[in-house]
């Protein structure tokens, strides 16, 4: 491979070398099962306890409120399905938004098949959940509100503290999918009145296949994966010690570098957005310009289609995404872009670039030039552009 500019950090990140370093001893040296009697297993147990503490501190939680899972999707499934089950005698109504990740949306659809009722809140043109609509949607049988902390496609950060407050006032559980936000923006579960929170290790330079669900003490959630007594009997399965250790290390790094890293990302992000908006016609930015993840850029380029754009960027060594990487197997345009009011043909022309700690000004300049070239080239090829030009000449 030649030059590579990796701008798909929302899909996954490079595992930090320090993280791998921290994990290594737990593969071949301290490989003991953490749930054993002998001292050797105690090494694993201690390592898990340390990671749990680091992580709990990062979100203002207590150690025993952190439950390790296999990632964001499992955390989301667990949070929704198992609270739905535990609170069904109270009610069967759940509120979420139209721009959640599929791990939430498909879980909600499954819950609907099980007899639950789900309200999918609209968002405004920037992807912000409307608080008054949230309030209106609340019913006596509402048991759960699940709104993502920040959107994975357009980077919009939701008013989580306000939502938490509303949920608390109505005595309704509040879950947030913080898979994209964790490590990028400060989170405090107490101040924000969050009862459950999902994360995934590989989104913040930790390993893939590990995540956690924060569960506030007192929440009567049931198990999702039944079996052994791990994770205080709530999540069965031999503990993924290296994964947990790596996650802990990644969180430690993400927290300690957050301010500096995101300040730099914000600067590069806004520089790229501003230049592309100025230099590429028929372009729009998706997502809120202010309440936005530090590393997220999302455009729609009219008259062209995203996959072609991605392949041509790839030919120049730039890795980006169009809609969520998780759904690239699908042919539908992004449900998020549709929800913020874009027509299908515009939604098809989206490009998401998500920066990382290593992204440089040079990378960004190179990328801007590449975008300009490629968009022009694809428009040259586009019958839609032809029609538009003919109509307006």
């Amino acid at each position: 491979m030649g030059k590579m500019i990796y701008l798909d950090n929302a899909a996954t990140t490079r595992t930090a070398p320090e993280v791998v370093e921290a994990m290594l001893p737990y593969f071949t040296e301290f490989y003991g099962n953490a749930s054993t009697v002998y001292e050797f297993g105690g090494k694993s147990k201690e390592a898990i306890a340390k990671a749990r503490e680091t992580i709990a501190n990062a979100i203002g939680a207590k150690d025993n409120e952190i439950y390790f899972t296999a990632g964001g999707s499992e955390s989301d499934n667990w949070a929704l399905k198992a609270t739905a089950e535990a609170y069904k005698s109270k009610g069967k109504h759940i509120i979420t938004s139209k721009i959640e990740h599929h791990a939430i949306l498909h879980t909600c659809q499954w819950l609907e098949q099980q007899g639950y009722e789900v309200t999918y809140l609209d968002v405004d043109e920037n992807g912000l959940v409307k608080l008054d609509e949230l309030k209106k949607a609340i019913r006596p049988d509402t048991i759960l509100i699940s709104i993502m902390f920040a959107n994975n496609e357009i980077g919009t950060i939701e008013p989580i503290a306000e939502i938490g407050k509303i949920a608390k006032e109505h005595d309704i559980l509040f879950h947030t999918d913080a898979v994209q936000a964790f490590g990028q923006v400060p989170i405090n579960v107490d101040e924000m009145n969050i009862d459950m929170l999902s994360t995934s290790g590989h989104k913040l330079n930790g390993p893939k296949g590990i995540g956690f669900l924060y569960i506030r003490k007192g929440v009567k959630i049931r198990s999702f994966v039944h079996g052994g007594a791990q994770e205080r009997k709530r999540r069965a399965g031999t503990e993924n010690v290296p994964g947990i250790v790596g996650f802990g290390k990644a969180v430690e790094l993400a927290v300690s570098t957050m301010k500096e890293r995101t300040d730099k990302e914000i600067e590069l992000r806004d520089y790229l957005i501003d230049r592309v908006l100025k230099e590429v016609p028929f372009t729009r930015v998706n997502g809120d310009r202010k309440n936005r993840l530090p590393n997220n850029i999302n455009f729609c380029f009219q008259f062209i289609e995203g996959e072609s754009l991605l392949i041509m960027l790839d030919m120049k060594g730039i890795c980006g995404s169009s809609g969520s990487a998780c759904t690239s197997g699908s042919l539908d345009p992004s449900h998020v872009l549709l929800a913020i009011g874009l027509p299908h043909e515009i939604a098809h022309g989206s490009l998401r670039l998500t920066l990382g700690a290593d992204t440089t000004k040079e990378d960004i300049d190179y990328t801007i030039d590449a975008i300009k070239d490629i968009v022009a080239q694809l428009r040259e090829m586009s019958p839609l552009y032809e029609d538009y030009i003919k109509k307006h000449n």
Partner: protein, 145 residues
């Protein structure tokens, strides 16, 4: 994800562009589904396709199938062009991922649409050519999980 042939036709699309005053023009697909193909045919008095161009809005496979389809019909007569199936296009490209098979159907249909336009403009009837659908629904049924 794509074969080398597909990537080659995507990177270096053959016959991209338009033909002014073409003998026949066909546009299929829709922006909603993310694929639109437009084929321009220049057909001489002997019914031979002298030139062909395309414009495509769509994914890599859409571009590559358009490109390959134009290559396959160029120099052929109308009846021969009609025989160029989506299967032929796919084979010539060393295959497509399952989710992209509909692109080859679209390419076949775009040729047919251009031929239909040609026939209409010239008031002739081409044996075996039915009025093309403007839209191609996906061939595949998704499994329900």
């Amino acid at each position: 994800m794509y074969s080398e042939k597909v990537m080659d036709h995507f990177k270096n699309p053959r016959n991209m562009g338009e033909i002014e005053n073409a003998s026949g023009v066909g546009t299929v697909g829709n922006a909603k589904c993310g694929d639109i193909m437009r084929i321009f045919l220049d057909i001489d008095d002997n019914g031979i396709i002298q030139d062909v161009k395309f414009k495509t809005f769509g994914c890599g496979a859409a571009v590559a199938t358009s490109s390959m389809a134009t290559e396959l019909v160029k120099g052929k007569n109308v009846q021969e062009a009609l025989q160029v199936t989506n299967k032929a296009v796919m084979e010539a490209l060393d295959g497509l991922p399952p989710v992209k098979v509909h692109c080859s159907l679209l390419a076949e249909e775009a040729i047919h649409a251009a031929l239909w336009d040609y026939a209409e403009k010239n008031g002739i009837k081409i044996e075996g050519l039915e009025k093309p659908k403007n839209d191609i629904s996906e061939g595949e049924e998704e499994e329900e999980y």
